[in-house]
Symmetry: C2
Subunit: 118 residues, 2 copies
DNA sequence: CCATCATTCACCCAAACGGTTGACTGACTT
DNA sequence: AAGTCAGTCAACCGTTTGGGTGAATGATGG
């Protein structure tokens, strides 16, 4: 059905964004930092690393696009907060993979048992 | 302790490899294919896509380096099999993140309760 | 009125990436 | 002896990516 495909496509894109965003070590480090310290300004985050403020700003935008982070802008100060929810989409993909794999094994086992009866 | 750090470093590198490997759509698709069809030759995999055999061969090498796939070489035929175990390392990282985050919230809550008593 | 501050924007650069093509290897088929 | 087959290696191309610099913005504080 068309609608289902659209939803699936959307989810696939979201998954892609999440995985790509978390595939970079700097961004993973920023996520950890945000998890332990709570919401931080971009400047505060940049202060922890020896990369430029600009670079951090770009990383935040990538994380934001993936939904891994949200931004609360209070005039010139942007408070960045980690968002855990998107991780579940990755969990979901893993579980799908695992169940597809298990399904095939089950079928294989059944086929073997069938062979026994011959 | 030095030894612990070495182990952690190793694990971090492995996590990085796994996330980067699964951040590409073609590679994710290949993984799904392998999950549902079982071990396949590189040629068989390539036949499913309109990218060259060479390109698939490279993707397989990336997946192999991440441990997401193993190779059983029977002379010129290379049987590629999906490996689920590495996914648990990503699960593990997610859970660490979530627990770090929860820990901070707990501390925050405790501090608020403390304030109430003033 | 001028400086400061937090952030983004517009470029620039080098490295990495996904993909291609072409040559090579080594056994099996004809 | 020649050709096919499965896969790798090496070189190349265009695009993306992570990083950097410098300027712009726009309210706030001297």
């Amino acid at each position: 059905m068309l609608f289902t495909h659209m939803v699936e496509r959307q989810e696939a894109d979201r998954l892609a964004a999440i995985l790509k965003a978390s595939s970079d070590p700097s961004r993973r480090s920023i996520l950890t930092l945000l998890a332990q310290e709570g919401p931080l300004r971009i400047t505060d985050i940049a202060a922890r690393y020896d990369i430029s403020l600009n670079s951090v700003s770009k990383h935040i935008k990538v994380l934001e696009a993936a939904g891994l982070v949200t931004r609360r802008t209070e005039w010139r100060e942007h408070l960045i907060e980690i968002q855990m929810e998107p991780l579940s989409l990755v969990d979901q993909w893993f579980n799908e993979l695992r169940s597809i794999w298990a399904l095939r094994l089950d079928a294989l086992e059944a086929a073997l048992k069938e062979d026994d009866n011959d």
